[in-house]
């Protein structure tokens, strides 16, 4: 077993395959806690988690709040519109001020790529990246991979299609880093204007036609089409995107019978996914949300505790 020695979770790019597996294994045990009648364990009692979401979020923020609460930590929400960030204070100053009040974790979502890395360099608290710009969304990547492993029983050798707007997707990047490390074959698919050329360097195959690859993949992970991006003329119309890329029942007839359909949310019903498929038996979208809680509990738990010195060789003494 590889020990976890990190204080921060900033991205999947810097994690080893063993570290990723360790989080997934830990999350599997945490899933059971949510089935207890008392859904709470004292592991992080007395710790304080600050949710610093400088971008809107529903499920990620609530998921982190519930995860921290189930570990008995206290949670404080930071709302940027009511804060001194809106008065011109820098992110680092704001974070340092919050830290001065004695907190242990900052969970940060920010529109700028690298925001979490920046905070991790100046704070003593643990920094958990909940999405930074177009860079990474590591807990989403972990929960997607966790769900694939749970349903399919393995990651190695799986063929995973990531479909949609690849150029601005932090969810895609975290998925790609994790899946490639664990030995999956990743195919990214979308209109050529939404698939950046250098993405191949991450070790993925590129396809511009969903119908070309739909028959061979085990998993289809759909990304949200950001309708505001259509205004930038990156694709002609929502309707055309839906015609060429939407996962609907007609298209699924050509897919493997046991293909699983994933979506990180929020989804545009009728654009990248048809309502029948979203609510259908191949969809694991709500399972993803459920697993997100266990994964975030595991991440908070693993990043807590003291990591200054290694106790890996100290046997279990406290019995």
């Amino acid at each position: 077993m590889s020990a976890w020695t990190r204080r921060h979770l900033l991205g999947l790019e810097e994690l080893s395959a063993d570290e990723i597996r360790h989080v997934l294994d830990t999350a599997a045990s945490f899933k059971e806690v949510s089935t207890r009648s008392i859904k709470k364990v004292p592991a992080l009692r007395g710790k304080v988690v600050v949710n610093m979401f400088v971008e809107p979020s529903t499920r990620t923020k609530m998921s982190f709040t519930l995860a921290a609460t189930r570990l008995s930590a206290d949670v404080v929400d930071f709302s940027p519109s009511m804060s001194s960030l809106s008065k011109g204070e820098t992110l680092v100053d704001t974070a340092k001020n919050i830290e001065a009040m004695g907190i242990d974790f900052i969970v940060i979502r920010h529109p700028a790529s690298g925001a979490a890395h920046l905070l991790s360099k100046v704070l003593k608290a643990s920094v958990i990246n909940a999405g930074d710009g177009a860079h990474e969304h590591p807990t989403q990547g972990l929960l997607d991979i966790f769900t694939m492993r749970e349903v399919k029983g393995r990651i190695e050798g799986l063929k995973v299609a990531i479909v949609g707007d690849l150029s601005y997707s932090r969810v895609a990047r975290s998925n790609i880093h994790g899946l490639v490390k664990l030995g999956a074959e990743v195919i990214v698919c979308g209109p050529s204007t939404l698939v950046p050329g250098p993405i191949k360097e991450l070790g993925v195959r590129v396809s511009y036609h969903i119908d070309e690859i739909i028959g061979e993949v085990d998993v289809i992970n759909l990304l949200r089409i950001q309708t505001e991006r259509q205004k930038a003329n990156l694709f002609p119309s929502i309707r055309e995107y839906a015609r060429l890329f939407q996962i609907n029942e007609e298209r699924l007839k050509r897919a493997k019978p046991d293909v699983m359909i994933m979506h990180p949310g929020p989804m545009n019903r009728g654009v990248e996914i048809s309502p029948e498929v979203a609510d259908g038996e191949k969809s694991v979208i709500l399972k993803q949300v459920e697993n997100g809680l266990a994964v975030r509990m595991a991440v908070l738990y693993l990043c807590s505790g003291s990591h200054e010195e290694s106790h890996a060789d100290v046997p279990h003494q406290g019995r």
């Binding site: 830990t26 045990s29 207890r36 364990v41 406290g318 019995r319």
Partner: protein
């Protein structure tokens, strides 16, 4: 480092578990209230053996569960995260049960403390009785076992290893002397 000293061999372990089983039956007349819960990892192995013996002796179906106390430990800050978190699995109602809690070694009592805290989060047993294969002393908390396989004098810095056929190449209990501290 001095050679490890064998405290119990396989026959001694088996005899100890048989005696514990007898004592449990002598003390718990109401068989229908009995339940067995093992503490990960080797406590679970021992608990399975005790559970099997109790079922075959009574002919009754006795509930069985496992407890992982990692999330209830009090040394999270001191030692950091090192243990693998395993699932706690108690697939029955604890209320009104006479729970036999099984662990391999009783030392400081802190694992037992954590196990008791976790158990009462699951329900309100009628009694919780502690069965251990080895009591090596040096308690830091007011916790005593109800059933003991063997009591051994140890130094605080020694370590006691329980090896069982199910998880290890051989079955024995050995004491490895630690460095004498000043």
């Amino acid at each position: 480092m001095p050679d490890p000293k064998r405290l119990m061999d396989q026959a001694a372990v088996e005899a100890a578990l048989e005696r514990i089983t007898n004592e449990i039956l002598a003390r718990n007349a109401t068989r229908s209230r009995l339940a067995v819960i093992g503490i990960h990892t080797r406590g679970v192995v021992l608990a399975k053996r005790v559970h099997e013996a109790l079922q075959s002796r009574t002919g009754a179906e006795i509930p069985f569960g496992t407890l992982d106390i990692t999330l209830y430990r009090d040394d999270h800050d001191v030692h950091g995260v090192k243990a693998v978190v395993r699932a706690t699995d108690i697939p029955f109602h604890l209320d009104g049960k006479d729970v036999i809690l099984v662990d391999d070694v009783l030392f400081t009592g802190r694992t037992t403390r954590a196990a008791l805290t976790e158990l009462v989060d699951f329900g309100r047993p009628s009694t919780i009785q502690l069965a251990v294969l080895v009591d090596r002393g040096h308690r830091e908390l007011p916790i005593q076992p109800d059933y003991v396989g063997g009591r051994f004098d140890t130094h605080r810095q020694d370590s006691v290893h329980v090896r069982l056929a199910e998880t290890d190449p051989s079955e024995e209990v050995v004491l490895v002397q630690g460095k004498a501290s000043a």
